[in-house]
């Protein structure tokens, strides 16, 4: 293929470096310095996509992030697929592979074009709205259909080979945009000594200077840009971030910048010869001051068939010619309401192609550029506009007519000009997006015919973003604002840089013009597109206003205007103007437009950074983790902890199932001795003269008399009287306690204690510290526990010396230990706490001595079965934030007569917490012992009752007990304690109904004799 639209000279490309690339399966060649868009235009590729709704052919319409049509799927390999890339922002590299996002499988002969034909009636305005109002099942049908037809881009199905990261940055002044205003601002601030970050979304810094016809200090404007960038690059206090888009402005000057580090070189970092490097980076910048110098986007005019390939915004013509040496056509017609568009005519003519005419809506334009065009022999048609484009795959002509903008009618005869390119300009829209991300509404300015940013604390505006357009004024504004920002950031001496000389041009004022009237009424004229990406027409907007949608926010939702990946950068203002015309109001009366992050689509990689795969969420291991791994444990996630779930053995060459392993582990504890790694239990060290008083206030039970050496189980409620955590607390010394919490509750309980201490009772002298990770905890439990322990410890284990709920200090396996006689299994148990780094030594010593007792490691599943057999609750499983200690039958653990009104006491005296019919904890014994009830299953009293049945409670814990040789469960049941012996029913979703008897929560050893030996 030849680059038929490439000029032999000019542009900022490197003609000596040819890059080959593939678009929609076809091979092309471009040059280093091209974007994918400029290379496609150079190769004369007219159609890049099919439109979303009508399946119309679409070509490149712009040259920047506002591009609505040239949205491509990028990536040579499956793993490197990137959807929603704007061809105008993608640097060309050798071997680039891209496809138009829409128009599967071929943009030229789209098999889905019948969708478009159908589209007129199939997808009228309000389609989504109306569809959502229809039965949901229909939406499922539509949705599949639309997605396939519209091809909204797709995620890769293979893992991304690249890495991404986040970088936290701080600076005094962050300048967003490196056009004339941004460069001047950055230089002013930097020269004052401020730490400056300057970011720009393009491959090269300079913005509009890079395609400007103007000179600065007598040299081309682009030369000044190069010189300033070079100076900034040499300053130690300046960070330049090209190829970096400021995508989100957040509270307190927190700005997210996305830097593309290898995406301009190849589709993977490795492909670019930069293996292991970061492909894209998210800079999280906390800026002292932000200078927003994001410039403006040119608005196209809205006329009939303005979507046919060959219709572009005028400024893009200049960009392609002057930056890339590409003229995207032969014969040009321009339609404009302002002087700036004449630049495109002059550039086009100088490139050696024909300018058929400039059609200007104004009666008597006389600006310098206008006169320059006339002097160059270009035909200027005034008081007129392009009413309609002709052609289908490419523009073939422009229908030009005189118009009356006040009355919105055509006034003359239509003249058809033969051409292949129509460039339109309806003026400029400041890029206010970031200034509205925190909710500040942009303000309409009649003199500018555009929205400018509202006031944002900590943010300064420079150049086009607040309507300063003329080059000289822009430089002055940038220089002043840069200095102002530096002063605000504390650099009091900051002064504006000296502004170079720029010739002042005479301009004739821009007229207000958005939609061009057509000789046919708007609803019958050929389609006039407002939002090209979402296929929203002027007629659709008009229809929406007729259907009663008056606010632009409603019109947008009804028509989907601005809801594409481009967020309506080109179309929003035109849409508002059309709504305003139809409603006979002004634009600001119709509403304003607020944007949300992100400014352009961001890859998930950049958002996620390193927080994926192994680093997605930290995993916490106990000191014994390696042993568990080596002994084949299956693990369960408990919060961030990895806890052994069960330890399957090989029996007769077969690996045990979970059921078999758990049954074996349970019986080992009940008949011999087992061991559990309980290190994950939360441990809080509490010290201070008021520690005891404090415990009395946060626990429901009494602590005044707990002597050193003793342990007590405690319940913790919130002030609403509902249980929030439980655990044992040991008195280590008169003013020193060790509290244990549930594994999941550890951090929350510590914060809870701090909250009450710091905010309610700061007069109490008490201090809290988490010691969860400092101590490893091993539970040795079962009838043989004492025998085993006696072999490894110097502690006197005599039952009279070391009673149930005592703790002792001594040595276990030769290292200092605290041993607690507490039991979560109902068996004789010793909880050994040792410093975590001794844990493995102690654990292995226990196994060395334990072999003769068949010491059996058990996991959380067995722990659950054993504790449930004893009716011991797990907070968060058997309780849910609406359960009081009384509901659990734990009256014995509530000290109503304590002197201080402890947390939860007042609430427990409400009539509601005393109701007899509250859900109470009970045991359930299935009538069929083989049945293990489903946790969460609802309990009813009458299985014959019509649905909805009266639900009386639900199962909270349910297991199979190898000792009972039966399933058993804990449940909460309304008035449950008065229903002992009754039969209840549990209807299942498959239609079966289980029967169970209401029994005590304690299934084994009701008198507690086994643990107290």
């Amino acid at each position: 293929m030849t680059q038929s639209n490439r000029l032999n000279q000019g542009g900022r490309i490197d003609r000596s470096r040819r890059l080959s690339f593939t678009f929609n399966g076809q091979q092309y060649v471009g040059f280093a310095g091209d974007t994918l868009a400029s290379a496609l235009l150079a190769n004369g590729v007219d159609v890049v996509n099919r439109s979303f709704k009508y399946s119309r052919p679409r070509g490149i319409a712009a040259a920047g992030p506002e591009e609505p049509n040239a949205i491509v799927q990028l990536g040579a390999s499956e793993a490197a697929q990137v959807p929603n890339v704007r061809a105008t922002q993608q640097a060309l590299y050798d071997g680039l592979v891209a496809r138009g996002t829409n128009g599967w499988p071929s943009v030229q002969r789209d098999v889905m074009s019948w969708v478009g034909k159908l589209g007129g009636s199939f997808m009228p305005p309000g389609f989504y709205y109306k569809t959502f109002m229809a039965p949901a099942s229909m939406w499922m049908t539509y949705e599949k259909f639309i997605r396939k037809g519209a091809g909204l881009g797709r995620a890769p199905t293979e893992a991304d080979p690249d890495i991404y990261d986040h970088l936290n940055q701080h600076c005094d002044v962050l300048v967003i945009g490196a056009g004339p205003a941004g460069l001047a601002a950055a230089l002013s601030a930097a020269r004052a000594g401020a730490r400056v970050i300057l970011c720009d979304e393009q491959e090269e810094m300079g913005g509009s200077l890079l395609d400007s016809r103007e000179s600065i200090d007598g040299a081309p404007a682009s030369a000044w840009a190069e010189q300033v960038v070079a100076e900034l690059a040499g300053l130690a206090n300046v960070t330049l971030l090209p190829r970096t888009t400021a995508n989100g402005y957040h509270d307190h000057n927190f700005v997210t910048l996305h830097e593309r580090r290898t995406e301009h070189l190849a589709d993977t970092a490795a492909g670019a010869g930069r293996e292991g490097e970061v492909r894209a980076r998210l800079h999280r910048v906390r800026a002292g001051r932000v200078v927003l110098a994001s410039g403006s986007h040119e608005r196209p005019l809205v006329y009939a068939n303005n979507d046919v390939p060959g219709n572009l915004v005028a400024g893009a013509i200049s960009v392609y010619i002057r930056r890339y040496g590409v003229v995207p056509g032969q014969r040009l017609v321009i339609s404009t309401n302002n002087d700036h568009a004449y630049r495109a005519a002059l550039d086009w003519q100088e490139a050696g192609r024909e300018v058929v005419a400039v059609v200007d809506s104004r009666a008597k334009p006389d600006g310098d550029l206008v006169e320059q065009a006339r002097d160059a022999g270009i035909r200027v048609i005034t008081g007129s506009a392009v009413m309609e484009a002709t052609g289908s795959q490419r523009v073939s002509g422009a229908k030009v007519v005189a118009i009356d903008t006040e009355r919105f009618v055509v006034t003359g005869k239509v003249e058809t000009l033969e051409c292949d390119t129509i460039a339109s300009s309806g003026g400029y829209s400041p890029v206010v997006h970031l200034a509205s991300h925190t909710g500040k509404r942009p303000q309409w300015r009649d003199d500018l015919l555009g929205f400018v940013p509202g006031e944002v604390k900590g943010m300064h505006f420079a150049g086009g973003v607040h309507g300063v357009y003329a080059l000289g004024e822009t430089l002055t504004d940038g220089a002043d604002v840069g200095a102002e920002a530096a002063r605000a950031a504390g650099f009091e001496e900051a002064a504006a840089m000296a502004v170079p000389e720029v010739e002042v041009r005479h301009e004739s004022p821009t007229s207000a013009l958005y939609q061009i009237p057509h000789e046919k009424p708007p609803l019958r004229a050929p389609k006039q597109f407002v939002d090209l990406q979402n296929d929203v027409t002027a007629a659709a907007v008009e229809l929406a206003t007729r259907e009663g949608f008056e606010s632009i926010e409603h019109v947008k939702r009804y028509t989907a205007l601005g809801f594409g990946t481009d967020q309506g950068k080109l179309g929003n203002i035109n849409g508002m103007a059309i709504a305003a015309r139809c409603l006979n109001r002004s634009i600001p009366e119709v509403g304003t437009t607020v944007f949300r992050p992100n400014y352009t689509p961001v890859s998930f990689g950049a958002i996620v950074g390193r927080h994926c795969r192994d680093l997605f969420d930290p995993e916490r291991y106990t000191a014994l983790h390696q042993w568990h791994v080596e002994h084949g444990a299956e693990f369960e996630d408990v919060g961030q902890w990895k806890r052994p779930w069960y330890f399957p053995r090989r029996v007769n060459g077969k690996r045990e199932t979970m059921h078999e392993a758990v049954a074996r582990e349970c019986l080992a504890v009940r008949r011999g001795v087992g061991i559990l790694d309980a290190s994950t239990l939360g441990k809080i060290d509490i010290q201070g003269p008021d520690a005891r008083e404090f415990l009395g206030r946060v626990y429901t039970n009494k602590w005044a008399k707990l002597a050193p050496g003793r342990v007590r189980y405690g319940l913790m409620c919130k002030d609403d009287g509902m249980l929030m955590d439980d655990g044992t607390t040991s008195c280590l010394a008169e003013n020193h306690f060790l509290m244990t919490t549930t594994t999941g509750g550890a951090a929350g309980v510590l914060e809870w204690l701090e909250l009450w201490h710091q905010t309610e009772w700061p007069e109490l002298q008490v201090y809290f510290n988490s010691v969860t990770d400092h101590w490893a905890t091993m539970t040795v439990t079962g009838p043989d526990a004492r025998k085993l322990m006696s072999e490894v410890t110097d502690i006197d284990l005599d039952r009279e010396q070391f009673k149930f709920m005592d703790w002792k200090e001594g040595k276990v396996a030769g290292v200092p230990a605290r041993v607690f006689r507490i039991s979560f299994t109902g068996e004789l148990a010793f909880e050994i706490n040792v410093q975590a780094n001794y844990a493995m030594h102690v654990w292995k010593a226990l196994f060395a001595h334990g072999e003769k007792y068949d010491l059996t490691p058990y996991g959380t599943e067995t722990m659950h079965v054993l504790r449930a057999e004893k009716g011991l609750i797990i907070v968060g499983q058997d309780t849910d934030g609406s359960v009081t200690p009384e509901d659990l039958g734990m009256h014995w653990a509530v000290g109503y007569d304590k002197p201080f009104s402890w947390i939860g006491q007042r609430a427990l005296t409400r009539p509601d917490t005393a109701r007899e019919d509250r859900k109470q904890l009970v045991g359930l014994k299935p009538k069929d012992p083989k049945v293990v009830l489903e946790e969460g299953a609802q309990i009813v009293l009458d299985p014959e009752q019509k649905i909805p049945m009266t639900m009386m409670g639900h199962v909270t814990s349910s297991y199979y007990s190898p000792v009972l040789e039966s399933g058993f469960a804990l449940a909460v049941l309304k008035g449950g304690r008065n229903r002992m012996g009754e039969t209840v029913y549990l209807p299942m979703s498959d239609g079966t109904v289980h029967q169970a008897e209401v029994v005590s929560t304690v299934f084994i050893d009701p008198k507690g004799e086994r643990q107290n030996v």
Partner: protein, 129 residues
């Protein structure tokens, strides 16, 4: 993302280190047994939800673990001041306009009046809303 000055650490830190903990200056009845169920319910469950000035409690969870208070504008998300537990806000819904006119906000680069101390005792007699 907020940039919050911890009045204990005396530093600006990122919001990720902090956690909001609800409305500030809630007073737990000194003798809970003596209040009615309705009053107790008000204390437990009823909170202000103003558009504008709001006093709220935060905790420097991944820092000094201290609880402190913030005066924040819920409409603009501007943090007007941060102050220690036991101190009273210097900016309240009642005096915010006056304080703004005085240009009260901020030392230190720009965002928050920190460690607000009662400059004017009258301001502190008002019940913060």
């Amino acid at each position: 993302m907020f940039h919050i000055f911890c009045p204990y650490c005396q530093e600006y830190r990122e919001e990720e280190e902090f956690h909001p903990s609800g409305q500030a200056h809630l007073v737990r009845p000194a003798d809970p047994a003596s209040v009615s169920d309705e009053e107790w319910g008000d204390y437990l469950f009823f909170r202000d939800n103003p558009r504008g000035i709001h006093h709220e409690m935060w905790v420097h969870r991944l820092g000094c673990r201290k609880f402190f208070n913030i005066t924040r504008d819920t409409a603009t998300y501007e943090i007007l001041e941060t102050y220690r537990m036991g101190e009273q806000p210097s900016i309240t819904a009642a005096n915010a306009e006056v304080r703004r006119e005085q240009g009260v906000q901020t030392a230190d680069g720009g965002w928050q009046t920190v460690g607000a101390q009662p400059e004017n005792s009258r301001l502190n007699e008002e019940t913060p809303s």
